[in-house]
């Protein structure tokens, strides 16, 4: 059972995607595992042929428990414990996320409900548009089986507990310091408008893509903000995997990673972000995305607050926040003008870096956004 987050102690195997005799490649989804963060697609990180499955669907087992045996393994299962590993070796190259999963679509409420009442989703026919399995479909199937109390609230409160545990640990263990830098966002906004105007809807970019790329570039250039801080102290990561805080409808958030974001073109980041948001809300995150982030970006979008003061996601050492872009007075050549202003904030780990370095890091992100054509 892989650890899919710093505070995960156990997980429930929901479904196998492999059988004895299956050939498994690195990055293949081998099983679905339920955690407080929802259902995660667990990927293999080695290759081999499956000899036997050890853990049965429905079983809840502690992190580290072998789930399956590969041929040629002594007793060691290779489909296991990624995590502490991933945490300790952030430079490990994680598998490339595949294209969007357009398989069976199930609303999270339906999935949670199905899990709570023991309805097998593969036996439910979706009545929603495009065959989406809705809560109602599951209710219907459950009624036939004999229903139990709804667990949607339970799933939500489990996620809330996971967030609380992780954030409490962060505030308890990590000596945060905070910095804030305001910038005139007009050149980035103008560049983006021009870029989007020349393209059909599906090829356009959201501002968040610029923020992610500028942060990733700065993280690659400035050590001390990218990596994990564990029992052996800080280990910088050569790769930049940017966790992106994604809100779930109705509350809660998760921050899966866009891998190697510093080296990807903006259009690629946009596509992956779109895919990630869809899978987070549809309940199909991959294990490599959950544990691999080396720093996190949190953007308020159009919610209307000037700045946010985020909390570091352990074992990472920095999180960059972006407020909403709002019209504010701004001094240009000695006179006050109205400009779209963006506030960049940084929460960083004082065990690893200082305010001076943090200010340089933020300035570097700002400089990237002042020249979006170079991102």
């Amino acid at each position: 059972m892989p650890s899919l987050g710093a505070d995960m102690e156990a997980g429930t195997l929901v479904e196998w995607r492999i059988a004895p005799g299956s050939t498994v490649h690195r990055g293949d989804v081998v099983a679905l595992v339920e955690t407080e963060k929802g259902i995660i697609d667990v990927e293999a990180f080695e290759e081999g042929v499956v000899q036997s499955l050890i853990v049965a669907p429905g079983s809840r087992v502690p992190v580290g428990t072998p789930l399956a045996l590969f041929e040629g393994d002594a007793i060691e299962a290779k489909v296991e414990v990624q995590s502490a590993l991933a945490a300790a070796q952030p430079t490990r190259t994680a598998p490339q996320p595949a294209l969007p999963d357009r398989g069976r679509r199930v609303s999270p409420a339906a999935r949670a409900r199905a899990a709570s009442v023991g309805v097998e989703l593969s036996s439910v026919k979706g009545s929603g548009p495009q065959g989406v399995i809705t809560l109602q479909d599951v209710e219907h199937a459950a009624a036939q089986k004999s229903a139990q109390p709804a667990a949607v609230e339970a799933a939500r409160s489990a996620l809330r507990s996971a967030i609380a545990a992780s954030m409490s640990r962060s505030k308890r263990e990590i000596p945060h310091y905070y910095l804030q830098l305001a910038m005139d966002f007009s050149s980035a906004a103008a560049w983006l408008e021009q870029y989007n105007q020349a393209r059909p809807v599906p090829e356009r970019l959201l501002p968040a893509v610029l923020l992610i790329k500028a942060t990733a570039r700065a993280a690659a250039a400035k050590p001390g903000f990218n990596g994990h801080c564990g029992a052996n102290g800080f280990e910088a990561s050569a790769a930049v995997h940017v966790g992106v805080a994604i809100a779930l409808r109705g509350g809660g958030l998760v921050a899966p990673a866009i891998l190697d974001a510093d080296r990807k073109p903006l259009a690629t980041i946009m596509r992956e972000l779109q895919d990630l948001v869809g899978r987070v809300r549809g309940g199909h995150m991959r294990s490599s995305e959950i544990a691999s982030a080396t720093l996190t970006v949190s953007s308020l979008g159009e919610e209307g607050a000037d700045a946010l003061y985020p909390i570091i996601h352990p074992p990472q050492v920095a999180i960059v926040g972006f407020g909403s872009v709002l019209e504010r007075p701004w001094v240009v050549a000695g006179a006050v003008a109205v400009r779209p202003v963006l506030n960049l904030t940084l929460a960083a780990d004082h065990r690893v870096s200082d305010g001076r370095q943090g200010a340089q890091f933020l300035a570097r992100i700002r400089d990237g956004l002042l020249h979006p054509e170079e991102l």
Binding site: R105, Q197, V201, P202, A208, R249, R281
Partner: protein
């Protein structure tokens, strides 16, 4: 494929919403309230929605028109203005 505004637009718009955001409860959609206020519709949802409308109705939707897509009623009115009359030139 480009479409005309022959059939009722609202159900087709709702079907597109269900496609891009399967986790919203369509039964509860209020036609005049902004999507954002009803189910945490964010900029990525709006992007996906515009892309789906672009694909399904063959419309090029300039970014400045995104604000016309923010509720069911506004969106249907926008499509009525933009789509060709059924059987028209």
């Amino acid at each position: 494929m480009s479409e005309t505004r022959g059939a009722a637009l609202e159900p087709r718009i709702l079907a597109l919403l269900a496609e891009i955001a399967p986790d919203i409860d369509l039964a509860a959609v209020h036609p005049e309230r902004a999507f954002r206020d009803q189910f945490d519709f964010d900029s990525m949802d709006l992007f996906n929605f515009a892309a789906a409308l672009h694909e399904r109705f063959g419309l090029d939707i300039p970014q400045r028109d995104y604000r016309e897509l923010t509720s069911l009623v506004r969106c249907a009115a926008y499509l009525r203005r933009k789509l060709p009359e059924p059987g028209g030139a």
